[in-house]
Symmetry: C2
Subunit: 606 residues, 2 copies
């Protein structure tokens, strides 16, 4: 599709967008804020810009908000102004200095939540003014620039809410949804929750939407864990067991509701002041949260029931927000590149900067995103459970007693989680151990561990073991890394590396073009960048270009909660990011086999 060029003055910012994009959204994407209180719904009339070059047609919203003279001068509401030719426009300075917060990966987020509180003092009805309650409220909000949609439960509460407050109320809107009509002035009490529903762990962060800050956070294991460690086994349960779909739904709802109770208690915030939840999670987790059958995700050709950014009633999902609260799911890009990755991309700003970056969320499925403001590709690689300790002889999650770091000198130095003796190894420890074995010369490029006899003079020779014909390396008493474990790791990192290669080949770039490699998720937080490079999990770039984004999904959800602009960009993500189906890539097998080996040490050590 032909792209059009838009110039924003006086900022001298240029952007290229598809036909039909609004001037308002195009500005979002280059981080240029245009005034708005309604969130780009054409109701507040504040986002006016003046078209200097090119034709942008007059819309009905323009007619409502602008004078004939202004229209003649080229003023248009940016949120309604779709472009169909190159154009230049003048953007007035922001009238107010909007508050902002730093969120995500050093992203500067304007505080413009989707939750709005509007104080209105309605004129009570008279014989001359016989408007109904709903239209009285609607017309007062219209004056303030807000639209209004009331569902039945909200309508049922309305007559008493208005009268008991003598028509002096604070109206709570999520977008245009009427959530509550509160007596008097409650404008300052405005909360929301960002939730990252991971397959393993669920994290809930209670945000003060006025201050733009987290006020409480809690996390817990996803209550679905007993149904299987990964998405495939959970989907399997829904196929083999009647009622399992609803059971999976109920347990994750309970996990979230327990976290909500905790964060409300921690912060001393009442549930009735928490109006919105933004949810990130992989596609399967979102399906299960909604009780929508996910089974087509698990079988070729791997499709979800929905990818859309659904906006639902909290009550319908049985989530414990304000009884009329709303739940916003972020969209998914594909069956295996879900809303968690959309949130992650959003948190890193990957799609908005010109530098080429590689984003990897390592897990049972490794999600890989490669791109810049020019073009973005995303795909998933089936790494298997090795990075989470699965299929590893003494593998375990990152819990007390897990070896999470390894250094081999003339002895074995371990970093162990908690004040406990080592009792197993977690993902980051596994990668460290293998990388260190490579550096120590005890593991060859093909992944073969030295036999003790071959390395008799090595200071660590005593740690080399062999049991039942299987070689190993003893990290600690009872914690032996076996040749089979190393093969598992090779297979896992080979899958990720294959995915990375596929995206890079498709885009026609090499590792020298990468400005940054971002490792996301809890794994990405703890893995040693150098070890990751040594084992070939990531392309060979200078180690300082490998960074961790922490819980990028949760950060992205928080950003979407705080800013309708960030949310809109996340909504656009599926249209802007090309989904790459790795299983259909012709060079898959060949590349995977080549990716099993470890890189030549000379190429990956600095």
């Amino acid at each position: 599709m032909r792209k059009l060029e838009i110039a924003y003055r006086p900022f001298d910012r240029l952007t290229r967008v598809p036909e039909g994009t609004t001037l308002f959204n195009a500005a979002h994407w280059i981080g240029l804020p245009i005034e708005s209180t309604c969130g780009g719904r054409g109701t507040c009339g504040k986002c006016k810009v003046r078209v200097l070059e090119g034709v942008v047609e007059i819309t009905p919203a323009d007619r409502r908000h602008l004078s004939e003279a202004e229209l003649d001068e080229g003023w248009r509401l940016a949120c309604e102004a779709e472009v169909y030719e190159d154009c230049a426009c003048f953007v007035p300075e922001l009238m107010r200095a909007p508050k902002a917060a730093t969120m995500g990966v050093n992203r500067f987020v304007l505080l413009e939540p989707n939750v709005n509180k509007v104080r209105v003092r309605l004129s009570p009805p008279t014989l001359e003014d016989h408007r109904g309650d709903l239209e009285r409220l609607r017309e007062a909000l219209d004056v303030e620039g807000y639209g209004l949609v009331a569902d039945l439960p909200a309508l049922r509460r309305l007559p008493a809410a208005l009268r008991s407050a003598d028509y002096d109320v604070t109206v709570v809107l999520c977008g245009e949804h009427l959530v509550a009509v509160e007596a008097g002035d409650t404008v300052d009490e405005r909360y929301g929750v960002a939730v990252d529903v991971g397959t393993t762990t669920v994290v809930a962060t209670l945000m003060d939407l006025r201050a733009g800050a987290a006020v409480a956070v809690d996390s817990n294991l996803n209550g679905q864990a007993p149904f299987g460690a990964d998405v495939i086994s959970r989907i399997g349960r829904t196929r083999t067991e009647d009622g399992a779909l609803d059971e999976l739904r109920r347990v994750v709802v309970k996990t979230i509701n327990d976290l909500l109770a905790n964060v409300y208690a921690q912060a001393g915030v009442g549930r009735e002041r928490v109006y919105e939840m933004v949810v990130a999670g992989n596609a399967t987790m979102l399906h299960l949260l909604l009780g929508v059958d996910p089974h087509a995700i698990a079988v070729s050709p791997f499709v979800p029931a929905f990818r859309e950014p659904l906006d639902l009633a909290a009550a319908e999902l049985e989530l414990d927000l304000h009884p009329q609260g709303r739940v916003q799911l972020l969209p998914s890009i594909g069956a295996y590149v879900g809303a968690d990755i959309v949130a992650g991309i959003q948190a890193t700003g990957l799609t908005r900067k010109p530098e080429l970056r590689l984003f990897i969320d390592v897990g049972t499925n490794g999600e890989i995103v490669l791109g810049s403001s020019e073009r973005v590709l995303a795909g998933a690689a089936p790494a298997g459970p090795a990075f989470e300790g699965g299929h590893i002889t003494t593998g375990m999650r990152a819990a007390g007693g897990a070896i999470e770091g390894v250094v081999l000198t003339d002895r074995v130095e371990l970093q162990v989680i908690g004040d406990a003796p080592p009792r197993g190894i977690c993902g980051s420890g596994l990668i460290d151990a293998v990388a260190q074995l490579r550096l120590a010369g005890l593991l060859d490029e093909r992944g073969r561990l030295s036999a003790r006899a071959e390395a008799a003079d090595h200071p660590l020779a005593d740690h080399l073991t062999e049991e039942g014909g299987v070689r190993g390396f003893r990290l600690a008493e009872g914690v032996v890394l076996t040749q089979r474990d190393i093969r598992e790791l090779q297979s896992a990192k080979g899958a990720i590396a294959t995915g990375v290669s596929a995206l890079m080949e498709t885009m026609g770039v090499g590792s020298g073009d990468l400005a940054e490699i971002i490792l996301a998720g809890s794994f990405g937080t703890y893995v040693d960048p150098e070890s990751a490079r040594i084992i070939g999990l990531v392309p060979p770039v200078p180690v300082e270009r490998i960074t961790s984004a922490g819980n990028a999904a949760g950060e992205g959800a928080k950003m979407a909660l705080l800013s309708f602009r960030e949310r809109d960009m996340a909504f656009d993500m599926p249209a802007r990011v090309e989904y790459f189906e790795l299983s259909g890539w012709p060079r898959l097998n060949e590349t995977f086999l080549a990716s099993l080996a470890f890189p030549d040490l000379a190429t990956v050590t600095s």
Copy 2:
């Protein structure tokens, strides 16, 4: 507000509309159909017209559906084309000859229901086409010109519905709401229900939306009757009794559901093929059906909680349509001019013709509408229960044994409902009796019944009674019309006549300007027009100009079910009809006192 003139060619039809009206809606209002399958939502692209004079700006929908050359020639989608100056446009002939039905008061209704069934054969997903189920469906419907909104229950059913039908399905839409995805071709099976929720009686009509015909009808007493005969006493119960609001809601829902079961059984139609209900009823009935507190309707300044045409899920209202079916309430004009009157106006076409007409729905509250295509006023007059037999000594509803017609010659001739001896008198009988007493010279203008002594020579002298100082006229054994009954009737008809006078004075018209008086409701069906004129219930117009519209509310609901154009017009009614609050009229008392007397016989007999 300035009105603009639109000319439609080649029909040479002219209309005047407010700024911002679309060419599509303006055509509706003069009964000129413009092609459309999406109902004017900008999605089907079929409503194109060519603007010949005046400027109508290009909209994004135009861009999607029309070529550059067409835009240059002035073609626009009529449903998106808002007018801001006088203009003329060319309307292409309808591509298809739309089916039509005669409904309402000789109204010709194009069959274009809001319920659409769209057969689509989706391409199953492949590795190259990994769209989710929802967007696969959305995109297929988009090609056919339909939008799609799916709520959570519909989404939950979607994956299995598509796969079990091998992606060959009929999609059921109410407007843009996804109601069902049915296997194979079910396009011909399409039903809806029109319901008139009266304070006394509830009527349900099952309509075949394809054929445009009623297939079954049933009626029953509103189950709320034990809570009070009129809206005020029912509203009173909600104030004095905990839980009464919900109880009233539940009993009327049960009344409707019982009728639904009957009409489904009568017609042999399964509930799962009944997708939509259109509801007419007074504002209080609609509040109670929704469980919304109506009490502000009962106290000055008399305001409803809502007047809007709400579109709700049948499941939420617990109404037994298709589980995903929709319920459309028609809008109300004011607290006492409800959706029943909106439907009635729609059924008569009163707002669409240039002749001045007067519409009266006689009941406990008499609703009065006066107007034409130029201007319409509507108000309500508190007549009290006399017309329904209330406060009348032997008054009763129109049931077996009720005197419904009276002729006085030299003897008393009675028309009695059913094959039963007379045991009371209903509204139409009461009006007949009083009119006949006037004609017989036994009742003077001020409403004084003759004493037997005064009329000793009258052939009906024997029927004149006096008991406990109260005069009466014996219609039958045990059925005496007393002087007090006559006073009650005077008061009731005086209230209606006062309302009529108020509207006519406000509009500056006299009875000579009235082209027609339309009596609606069951009362209007049975009352003798001449008697109504003689007692002064209606202005003195030639009797052939007094007509009955039958159950106009039910007819209007049926029209809205069959035609989105009629529905849209009903939705516009509150904006086009001026609500007249009678209790605020300065000449109220004076006019009411003057209206108690009966007209001079010379002015009301032909």
